[in-house]
Amino acid sequence: MIEWFISNREALKLIYGIFVALICFFIVFRTDKLFRLSLHQGIRYFRNAFLFFGIGFILRYIVGTGYLFSKYLFEFFLIMGGFFLFYSLIWKKFESSKKEAKSSLFNLRIIIFYVLAIIITFLDYFWSTYCFMFFSQIILFLIVVLISYFNYLNKKGKFLKYYFLSVLMIFIAWVLNLLASLVFNWEPWVILIVYLLNILIFVLFFIGILRFTN
């Protein structure tokens, strides 16, 4: 299987990118509809997370395969997607639900995330590595895992268990990415596991969205 994966790697990467991007934009479309109706800020930031994930995957796997900057743009959008997902869980602590910001993409709180994402991307570009992204996302998703675990324990909601599992898998995927970079020298079997894990994560979110927005 690994040989087959290696020999068809470019085509598989393209299919993988299209598949994940399609799921992301489906989620954006569905949640945007709910946001426009409710003006709920949590839905808005959740939507933004998948918008950034979707753009990132398009830039990396569809538009820019082989271009140096596509890697770093992908990195920037992926980091921003992670920040938005994180913020969608904690926005109530910082914002009033009655006064929504005019823009959820450019407001004072979100600018902090942009600055962080640009710094992390720049550091990785400068040192020709991905480690700054990997470490930052590992820390971020460790926090997201803890928040979603407490949500699962304390709130009602059938999907909270799967949400927790999904973010736990995102955390594992980032750890595997870090190991692939530092320990396994980008061995194809590790990359394959990361790809499969990512597909599983996005499919889980897709199922959740399908089930709870119908």
Binding site: L34, L37, I43, S148
Partner: protein, 90 residues
């Protein structure tokens, strides 16, 4: 003592009260909403600004609230929105 209502539940209750009576006077809506006057004012201002409800004033200057199309849509989709927010911890 009952559980404190979530913001979306309060909005649903206000919109439901307006839908049931079609046109409702502000004082009657305040009583049916079970909110303090201050909170009531905040919610009403929000709902008017988001175009979920509108304030109608007739020739005798009598004020009533009525539901807009958007408010109707919100009530219909409320269960989905509530479910989604609840299940994704938002």
């Amino acid at each position: 003592m009952g559980k404190k209502r979530e913001r979306l539940e309060v909005i649903r209750d206000i919109l439901n009260s307006i839908r049931t009576t079609r046109n409702i006077k502000p004082t009657r809506l305040l009583y049916s909403s079970n909110l303090s006057p201050q909170m009531f004012k905040e919610y009403i201002n929000e709902l008017v600004s988001k175009k979920f409800i509108q304030l109608d004033i007739d020739a005798k200057e009598k004020k009533t609230f009525s539901l807009t199309r958007r408010g109707m849509d919100f009530l219909q989709e409320y269960k989905i929105i509530e479910n989604f927010v609840e299940n994704f911890g938002l």
